[in-house]
């Protein structure tokens, strides 16, 4: 690995870039929700309140950390780091500048599936380790919800791979140069967004963190640094899943080539990518604000009886298209 690659990995378009994107996503989410609810949202912290999530993060990080007596302090100490690592590594496989991602493997889509599952597993372990009553109920719900959305999510992610006959994210993104897969496989895209809402625990699937039912969900017992990193990770996953949607269905960073200068074109690719990313994020914001929470049994029924058959059908169609 060259020093340039390390820098890319750490700064742009790697970790730092995506962490700031995560903050930006939280700010946009809060702003969108507030505007839709007839409020203004954060305004005083930074221009238009854009630094509000940053202030929240640093304030939490500087607070006392309380570890409940019954909890597993080892897991609580190292769990957040692993939980954070999952999307942090994942973003390195997303092509942001042009068609190349920083890390590349011909089979990295499978690794993404692993990362998504791992992230849920870490949430489960963290919630269980904190040994709170509400946390225990919440992780029960998390697991049930996970069994619901996991299969549609995988099927929806495999569909573009089938269409592109490629199992790497960069490869799939590059294969959409002419036609985005959102047009070829719109159902898979819709299923992906719905499953992503469930993975991110956003309404209407914020069942494992339903404030009005089980206090803070599996995060009830966290405080200080742990809470800061868990919240940051959730936002990072937000950006990561949106980026995945962009790469798998919206042609990644692809777009018209307007300049012969590679630097200018690189900037253009980044702009294309960000525009698509925020478009996807915005769809999620709007869905999240406009809907009420469903119940866990209703959610699983939706996933098993509607989304799984739908995504299976979509996959079959995709296979037929490719075979022809």
């Amino acid at each position: 690995m060259t020093p340039i690659e390390v820098l890319q990995l750490l700064l742009f378009p790697g970790l730092t870039f995506f962490v700031w994107l995560a903050f930006l996503f939280e700010w946009l989410e809060r702003k969108t929700a507030a505007r839709m609810q007839g409020r203004r949202g954060p305004v005083v912290t930074g221009p238009y309140g854009i630094l509000q999530p940053v202030a929240d993060f640093f304030k939490l990080a500087a607070k006392e950390e309380i570890v409940p007596a019954e909890s597993d302090s080892f897991v609580l100490r190292w769990g957040p780091a692993l939980y954070f690592a999952a999307p942090a590594i994942g973003v390195a496989f997303i092509p942001v500048v042009g068609a190349q991602s920083i890390l590349y493997d011909p089979l990295d889509l499978l690794f993404m599936l692993f990362i998504l599952a791992f992230s849920t597993l870490m949430a489960l372990m963290l919630g269980y380790a904190s040994a709170g009553r509400y946390s225990t109920i919440a992780i029960g719900r998390l697991v049930v919800q996970y069994t619901g959305y996991e299969i549609p999510l995988i099927l929806a992610m495999v569909t573009p791979a089938v269409l592109a006959r490629n199992l790497s994210i960069a490869g799939i993104a590059a294969a959409q140069a002419n036609l985005w897969y959102i047009f070829l496989a719109p159902v898979a895209f819709a299923v992906f967004i719905i499953a992503a809402l469930a993975e991110l625990e956003k309404p209407p699937f914020d069942i494992p963190s339903a404030k009005t039912e089980i206090v803070g969900g599996w995060m009830t017992e966290f405080s200080g640094n742990t809470l800061a990193y868990v919240k940051l990770t959730k936002n990072l996953s937000y950006a990561f899943l949106s980026a995945l949607a962009v790469s798998l269905f919206l042609g990644g960073a692809g777009g018209p080539v307007l300049s012969a200068d590679p630097t200018v074109q690189a900037v253009l690719y980044t702009v294309y990518f960000l525009a698509k990313l925020f478009a996807v994020g915005f769809v999620i914001f709007v869905i999240r604000t406009a809907l009420a929470r469903v119940r866990i049994d209703q959610a699983t029924r939706l996933f098993w009886t509607i989304l799984t058959p739908l995504s299976l059908a979509q996959l079959a169609v995709a296979i037929l298209v490719v075979a022809r």
């Binding site: 507030a34 203004r40 912290t45 966290f222």
Partner: protein, 154 residues
């Protein structure tokens, strides 16, 4: 570097105020005004105020209502669950000193007999504007150095 971190923390603390609300035998008047302070007309989120579900996430504890013996232990427990630095705001006449309930046999003389209070917002009930103004007074009064903040709390 240390100076920068202290400055960053102080900056963040004044702009991110997560509140947890406890009703210690209140008549609901103050409680609905606290809720109203978060709704569109007043929108306390503009200033970074957010209502959090668990005391472990909170910076500021809002307490309404006169104390009664059943809520006394609860209030202490909630206060102990909060991570440092923590601040307590007593809202409404009852929480300040018993208010109209002062001589009732099952009502206390204000919550500062149980936990330390950093700010008093009088009124029966205070307006949402008053509540937001009070919380802002509180956080702009937070000293910039964390050591001093600890003193304010204890």
């Amino acid at each position: 570097m240390a100076g920068f971190r202290t400055g960053l923390t102080a900056w963040a603390r004044k702009r991110s105020i997560w509140v947890f609300h406890v009703n210690a035998a209140s008549c609901n008047g103050c409680d609905i005004e606290i809720l109203a302070a978060l709704t569109p007309r007043y929108d306390a989120e503009r200033l970074g105020v957010e209502l959090v579900p668990s005391p472990r996430h909170a910076d500021v504890l809002l307490v309404t209502g006169t104390m009664n013996p059943l809520m006394k232990d609860r209030l202490k427990t909630v206060y102990e669950q909060m991570p440092e630095p923590r601040l307590v705001v007593a809202i409404g006449a009852c929480a300040l000193g018993g208010g109209v309930m002062r001589d009732c046999y099952n009502a206390g003389h204000g919550i500062d007999t149980v936990i330390p209070v950093d700010l008093y917002i009088p009124g029966c009930p205070p307006n949402p504007e008053g509540i937001i103004y009070g919380i802002l007074k509180l956080v702009t009064g937070i000293p910039d150095k964390p050591e001093e903040a600890q003193q304010v709390v204890s």
